[in-house]
């Protein structure tokens, strides 16, 4: 076997203000790619788990909601399993892709996902991660997509044992990772790019 050359990742560039054209074209009335945006629907009738609605806004340094950005989420299914293949059976819910994408509303800045509450995820070391959703945010002015994690504020006992949250224990900013329950099965998760409420972003 020949030794493979080590390459370097290509650099990121901002998604810019026109990301809708390529990623969520139907939001601007473009039906060129079939008219259904990828990631716009996470659920089918057959998806297992408790339906929830997630909403939020992303605030800039002047506390103004960003209206030209895009949020992507990645999460486990109701049993805490991630989808790893389109074709092979991996035990995860075949009726749940785990991946969603939403634009920030052009007027209010709100993004929304209709999804299911993920189950706790078992790590390789046997520890459990509390139910959580991975977030990735891109927009004009953001040079490298921002990663964060959303946890559920009403999962107190599981959150207590979550390895990442345990690691962050003692920092006040930990609350920036908690989605607030605003109604039955409905959660709000606001992201702050700057200021006293600045969200924790991770280098993953």
């Amino acid at each position: 076997m020949h030794k493979l050359q080590r390459l370097k990742e290509i650099p990121s560039q901002t998604a810019g203000p026109f990301l809708h054209i390529g990623c969520i074209p139907s939001q601007i009335g473009l039906n060129t790619l079939g008219g259904i945006d990828l990631g716009s629907v996470l659920l089918s009738k057959k998806t297992k788990g408790k339906r929830i609605t997630l909403t939020g806004k992303v605030f800039d340094g002047k506390n103004i909601p960003i209206r030209d950005g895009m949020v992507e989420i990645w999460q486990a299914d109701a049993n805490g399993l991630y989808r790893t293949s389109e074709t092979k059976l991996d035990g995860s819910d075949l009726n749940f892709s785990g991946w969603g994408r939403s634009h920030c509303d052009f007027e209010s800045g709100s993004w929304t996902f209709k999804t299911i509450k993920p189950g706790p995820v078992m790590m390789k070391n046997g520890k459990w991660m509390a139910p959580h959703i991975s977030f990735w945010f891109v927009a004009r002015g953001i040079n490298l997509g921002l990663n964060t994690r959303m946890y559920f504020s009403d999962e107190h006992s599981l959150n207590e044992k979550d390895p990442l949250l345990q690691e962050l224990k003692g920092t006040k900013r930990i609350r920036t990772l908690m989605a607030r329950k605003i109604a039955e099965n409905s959660y709000e998760f606001n992201i702050y790019l700057q200021g006293k409420n600045e969200t924790i972003f991770f280098e993953i």
Binding site: K8, P11, Q13, I21, K124, N125, I200
Partner: protein, 247 residues
């Protein structure tokens, strides 16, 4: 190698931050209010980062990878210089990655986007939408046909013009490899003047975004070809314990 095997691999190599733009890049004004002030908190990769979305290749429509045709379903062709943009997707281990979804968007030949918030007065092309997508084949290869995009002016406090570029959105084998970037064209004098291109401080890193004219793939009397290879983060080859610091 099947993508599901790649998925079973371990954590990602830590990202080399010197290759990427910083969050705050004052010459690019939009970054001022949108750059986090606190440093990113490093976290060990868990299953949530080393897995990532998978796509059914059947999502692709007949003209998805042909931007010259897809806006009019093949009945009309966009105006401008026809080009082919192609390349391979690798990880940092030099392994090619099959089944990678690539989405692209761009301005038309005049430098105008089909988007309500583009206020540049250059004309829209009635035959050109400006978006496309494809999936890499078993050898990690991808290819688009499109119209060479025009340069365009943009509001950044000065007389700023974007070099011709194509926006790329790329899905690797894990959520931690997710990347959005822009591809430039060899020989464009606007690259070195561009505040966005120059958010990348390392010239060698910026150069990897500049597609090279490729006469081998150029089709005589039809389309010039540009080659743009995409390198995503590499992965350790085995899953090892996701130990958190302090645990």
């Amino acid at each position: 190698m099947d993508k599901s095997d790649l998925r079973c691999q371990g954590p990602l190599y830590p990202r080399d931050k010197t290759l990427h733009p910083k969050a705050l890049t004052p010459d690019y004004k939009s970054s001022l209010l949108r750059s986090p002030k606190m440093t990113l908190i490093p976290m060990s990769n868990t299953l949530s980062e080393i897995t990532g979305p998978v796509f059914d290749p059947n999502i692709l429509g007949e003209f998805d990878s042909d931007l010259t045709k897809n806006y009019c379903s093949g009945k009309q062709i966009g105006i401008g210089e026809q080009i082919i943009v192609h390349g391979k997707v690798f990880d940092e281990n030099s392994r090619t990655i099959p089944n990678v979804l690539i989405e692209v968007w761009q301005a038309n030949a005049s430098g105008r986007y089909r988007h309500f918030s583009d206020s540049y007065k250059a004309p829209l092309d009635p035959y050109f939408g400006g978006c496309g997508r494809c999936v890499t084949d078993q050898n990690g290869c991808y290819s688009f046909r499109t119209i060479r995009p025009g340069a365009y002016p943009w509001p950044n406090g000065g007389n700023n013009w974007r070099p011709s570029h194509i926006h790329f959105s790329i899905f690797g084998t894990s959520f931690a490899q997710r990347l959005i970037t822009q591809m430039y064209f060899e020989g464009d004098p606007l690259i070195k003047l561009c505040p966005i291109a120059n958010t990348i401080e390392d010239p060698a890193s910026l150069k990897t975004l500049v597609a090279q004219l490729d006469m081998k793939k150029t089709i005589h009397m039809d389309a010039r070809a540009y080659q743009f290879n995409i390198i995503l983060r590499g992965r350790f080859s085995t899953i090892f314990e996701n130990k958190m610091d302090g645990n």
